[in-house]
Subunit: 191 residues, 2 copies
DNA sequence: AAGTTTGTTCAGTTAAAACTGTACATAATA
DNA sequence: TATTATGTACAGTTTTAACTGAACAAACTT
């Protein structure tokens, strides 16, 4: 066993500490629709002192460059990393988006708004089909079922309207008036 | 081909209309950490006139009872369906939770709070490890990296504090003061 | 208590997603 | 223009998740 005051050993300890956080990120990042592997990738780039290339990521994680490419793309789509340029470097460089509020909002907005819109269209279409059928049918039983269905769908529609409003809260940034960003408490200054 | 004013044909059209919505639900329900199959299950129970048993679900979806059991449990955990009792019926009966606002809030709160807490603990622990290492190390290079890491982690911590506050908005129901529930506009009465 | 009914556990199977290496397309360099 | 470097598409493989049927356990019925 090497002695404790050894650079390699301490670097290893630093790596371990970072790894504690990276592992947790990887576990929970599925909430952003990101795979655990891409989560580890995110963590790695997060701690990196410099923007990283695909080759560096590949080496750091012991995974194929192809995986790095698709992984970084999913992080890019979620606005969790960004591409940066440095003169003289041909390779693509990536760093984490440091505004986590923005990342969260982006993911939240995109995912929920998309789903909400699709669901609302589906409700509209379903209602159309039901209205038409109700006009044509002569069976009391059928039209009764249709009426119940339409009522349920309208209820759902109200909910989606509300959800749209909630999403707008994040989209417009009004959420930050209601729930202010936290300032760095350790720094003492509270501008 | 059977004539148009035929009960079976119109029932089929009703089924088709319902299916339009069910299919869309199934596609987007992964946002609630629910599988598409369980999503179809949800849709089926949603339109059912009566609370359903596992056997009825199994028949309606053409899937095994085991799948219905696990599917309904995931919906139950997400507070999207609830169990109801009817005298004289031994089988478990399920209906959808009709307060969609509650369902959404529940899912949102549980998923994000859990992840947030785990990530915050990880940050704490990582910081502890880093503080310790910084006290012990003599290498300027190492302690510089540590300082940068701690700064990044503190930034992340602030974000998680903010997220906790946002979650509390839904937990306490204060969100409904800010974004009021939509009333059923078609009914005309606006109490 | 014996016999049913009902939901769930578990092992095995099938289906889906993640990952890899090769081959290719594009762009930079000489 | 020829050569080299770099990221991505694609086909095949591995890993993970979903699904099923049989066996079991708990509760109800008689």
């Amino acid at each position: 066993m090497p002695s404790n005051n050894n650079y390699a050993v301490e670097s290893e300890r630093l790596e371990e500490a970072r790894n504690r956080f990276i592992t947790e990120i990887a576990k929970n990042i599925h909430l952003y629709n990101i795979t655990p592997s891409a989560g580890r990738l995110y963590g790695t780039v997060f701690f990196s002192e410099e923007p990283m290339t695909l080759d560096e990521m590949s080496k750091a994680l012991g995974m194929s460059k192809t995986s790095m490419s698709t992984g970084i793309r999913s992080l890019l789509d979620a606005n969790m990393v960004e591409r940066v340029w440095e003169r003289g470097i041909r390779k693509d460089l990536y760093k984490v988006e440091d505004d986590w509020y923005k990342s969260f909002s982006n993911v939240f907005i995109n995912r929920w708004r998309n789903a909400t819109e699709l669901n609302m269209s589906a409700i509209q279409e379903t209602k159309e089909m039901l209205y038409q059928l109700r006009q044509e049918t002569t069976f009391k039983d059928i039209s009764k079922k249709i009426d119940t269905d339409i009522e349920k769908l309208t209820e759902a529609e109200n909910y989606y309207h509300w959800l749209t409003d909630v999403i707008a809260l994040f989209e417009t940034g009004k959420i930050f008036d209601i729930v202010p960003k936290r300032r760095d408490l350790t720094k003492g200054k509270n501008i």
